[in-house]
Structure formats: C-alpha cells, structure tokens
Amino acid sequence: MSEEVVALEDVWVRYGDNTVLQEVTLKICEKDFLGIIGPNGGGKTTLLKVIMGLVQPMRGTARVFGAEPGRSWQRIGYVPQQIMLDRNFPISVRDTVLMGRLGHKTIFKSYGKADLAAAEEALKAVEMCDYRGRQIGKLSGGQLQRVLIARALASRPDLLLLDEPTTGIDIVGQESIYTILSRLKSMITIIIVSHDVGALAVNADKIACVGKKLYYHDSRKLSSGEMEEAYGCPIELIAHGVPHRVLKEHTK
C-alpha cells in the first residue's frame, strides 16, 4: 500500500460570504499524477492553497503527509502562477532557483554547498543550466516556467504542486513542461491545476474536476453530468490526438 500524500475530508472554504470549496473529499497517493480542471474561480487554486496550509478550511479536515497542512512544507514544491511575479525584478535565474532552498537554510546564514548543489541539479532537470546568470525578464515565458519548476525542485520535494503552468506559454514551451513532468512522475507525486482540459486529459494519469464541489474517481474518468455540474454548462472532455477516450460512451 503506497503512502497517502494528501487526504481531504469534507473540506469547506469560504471567502466572506462566498463559498469557494464545498464538501471536498480527496485522497491522493504516492506517485499519483493528478490533473485538476475546472472553471475559472471554481476553487482550483484555493484547493492547492489548502494543501499548502496557506488557506484554512472552515470545516473538515486536511492532512498532508499525515500531518497538518503547513507542517510538511519541507516535502512540498510549489510552482505559482507566473502572472503573480514581476518579470522586471532584478533577480537572476540562479538566485530564483536558490530561493527553493530558503526553508532549508539556517537563518543568519547564507546558502551552503548543499544548497548550491541542489539548485544546480534542479536547473539541470529542467535543462536551464545555460541561463544561470540571466535576469528572469530576459527569458521566454516557457523558460521562466521551467525556472520556477526548478525552484520548486531545488527543495527536493516529494509532492509537486503546479498552478496553471502552461497559461500564456506557446505550444513548444508547453510540450517541454509536460516532458519534464513525465520524467518526474515516476519519482514524486504531482498535482497540476489547469483550465487547459485537453492538455491535462492527455498528460495526467488521473483527473479531478473542481467547481466548488470536487468530482473525482481516482481515475481519468468523469461523467459529462459531473462536468456540466462543475462548469455550469455542457462541456466536452476531449483528448486531442490520443487513441483512447477519456469519457465513456453515453448510454442515452
């Protein structure tokens, strides 16, 4: 039996009067590669924030690696939405990736040899070693996204969380991100949030859909009724260019 990485039980989250997540129950096991889809404002990012302990559920319990969320930060790597960052910020690729070691370094001390080695290894994993000294504004969107993945990997996580990693990135860049993730999935647990239904249907091993409530069957299958409930309108889960169907054939 593989280790249970994330266990959410009847989790509710509210921002003021607005219920963002409702009755969310989710179990994610070791080495799962879970794609989370859902409409904008459906609570995808909030779900990630609950797992990281940045948002407290008002009801229900959340466990991450068997502990309270926020306790297991050393085992979590996080790739935030790129749009949140200032690309003109005077920081190099190397220093961005080193930030992934922030929680591991001793306060009052600078980064040590182990930190530098971990950062270098992470840069290698995303094939960005040649850009080490470059300021982040001088990278393409896809390259910056790989740097942010390297930052998350530098902490040597067991669980990698990615929030909309392919938004605003060209097709080649998106493909290279999914290539990196497919190399990683045999080693760590991955949860990726995206509104790009098609890409997740192809790349993720399991798919959940969040629209306030969470629809998940520990597989890639979601009924069109569930999708319609989450999105509030009929929606097709189409996997472009793959031989197998993601949706079951409708019986009626």
Partner: protein, 275 residues
Amino acid sequence: MIDIFQYEFMRNAVAAGILTSVACGIIGVYVVLKRIVFLSDGITHASFGGVGLGYYLHINPVDALLPFSIVSAAAMYTATKLTKAYEDTAIGILLATGMSLGLILVYMTPGYAPDLMSYLFGNILMVPSSDLIMMAGLDILIVLLIMIFYHELLALCFDEEYMRVSGRNSNVYYFLLLCMVAISTVIMVRVTGIILNITLLTIPAIISHQFVSSLKAMLAFSVIQGIIYVLLGLWLSYILNLPSGATIVMIMTTIYGTVMILKNAYDKFIITQAG
C-alpha cells in the same frame, strides 16, 4: 571651492549627505521593489509626531524621532494587515494622524519652536556633530541587517507567498523592512525633512532599476547616485542661496524626468530599428 570646507557646518553637511545616501540608497531599493512607497511615505510623515514629542519633552527632536518612527511603522503594519484590500486608506489616515499629533504637541509646548521648518523640509547645513554619530550608527545597523537577512528580504520582495510556502514567517521580515524604513526616516530628517524624504528614498532606486539587472548592483548604484545628488544639491543651494532640502529634491526630480524621457525615446528608437 576648497575654502568652504573650512567651516565645520560644511564638513558636517557633506558627512550627513553621504551617511544619508547610504541608508536611503539601500532601503529605497527594497521600498521600490516591494512597492511600499506610499506606506513608507506614511511612516515618515506620521513620524512628525516624534518631532512634536521631542519639543514637548524638551529633548533633541531627533532622539524622540527614532522610537516614534518605529511606533509609526508598527501602527502602519497593524493597520494595513487589518484593513487588507483598503490599506491605502489606512495609510492616508495614519499619516495625517501622526502629523496632527506632532503639531498639537508643538503647539502645547510653551515658547517658539525655532527650527521646526528644518525638520519638515530638511536643512543639511544645520546638522550637529552629535547627530552624525547617531546617523553613522544607524547606517551600520541597516547594512548589518541587510547582510544578515539578504536572502530573506530578496524572497520577501520577489515572492512573498513562496516565502510562506517555504515555512518562513514572511510577516516578520515585512515588519523588519518597515522598521528599517523608520530608521532611515531618522537618518534622512536632517537632509530632506519629513515632508520630502520620500524622494530621497525612491528616486535613486527607481533610476537604478532602469539600468542594472541584479539586486546588489542596484543597491550600490542607488547609494552612489544618492551621494552625487545630495552633494550636488548642497553645492547648488550654497552658491544660489536656496533651501538645501528642496534643492536636492528638485535636482533628483529633474534627473529622474530626464532619464525617463531619454529612456523612452531610446526604447522607441530600438523598436523602430528592429521593425
């Protein structure tokens, strides 16, 4: 030119200019990058309450300024955390409250407040030697704090959320940054004064931001610029017999405006060349 250094007030003015530029150049970079310019302006303005308190207690207003500016920073921190989305409203209110408190205290103090204007608008020609020692001490404190918490402050300004995900309490470092803004207020007060401080804090940093792409270079370039502008202002105010604080501000604004116009024209030129 050399003969003006015969006067102690002139030597003190040059020393004060350099010491001020070190603190402002460094803290200004973080203020600009973290986008807390209005919040920092709020802290320096509200600190006027400390000047008033100094008059009221008959002590050197600069001595009362340090604890009061830290209190201002704490008040700003608390208010902005409580009001969340409306933090600029809270800053505006606290700014006026601190200044009003200072004015009331000055008013309640019997007699005439002789150099009140110099605390509001700065007067670099009136820095006593005792203040220079305090300014140097506070400069050293700021440099030490920046060296010790360099990576933490970098993470705070670049990606505060990531800092929290990394198990670090970002609020602690945010408050530390606000306290350093408060300290730099004290260092700056003799040069540009409570009202004009914000230009000294922001202009060298924002100009550096246009030209360099690493944080360390930005820090160094801001400090060097600050020294040049302040000394230039001091010299111009001396030969033209103008108020020094305002002259320094006008020089910096002129340079900033010119740099921005030239930079825009250059960027457009590059785009047309490429197209």
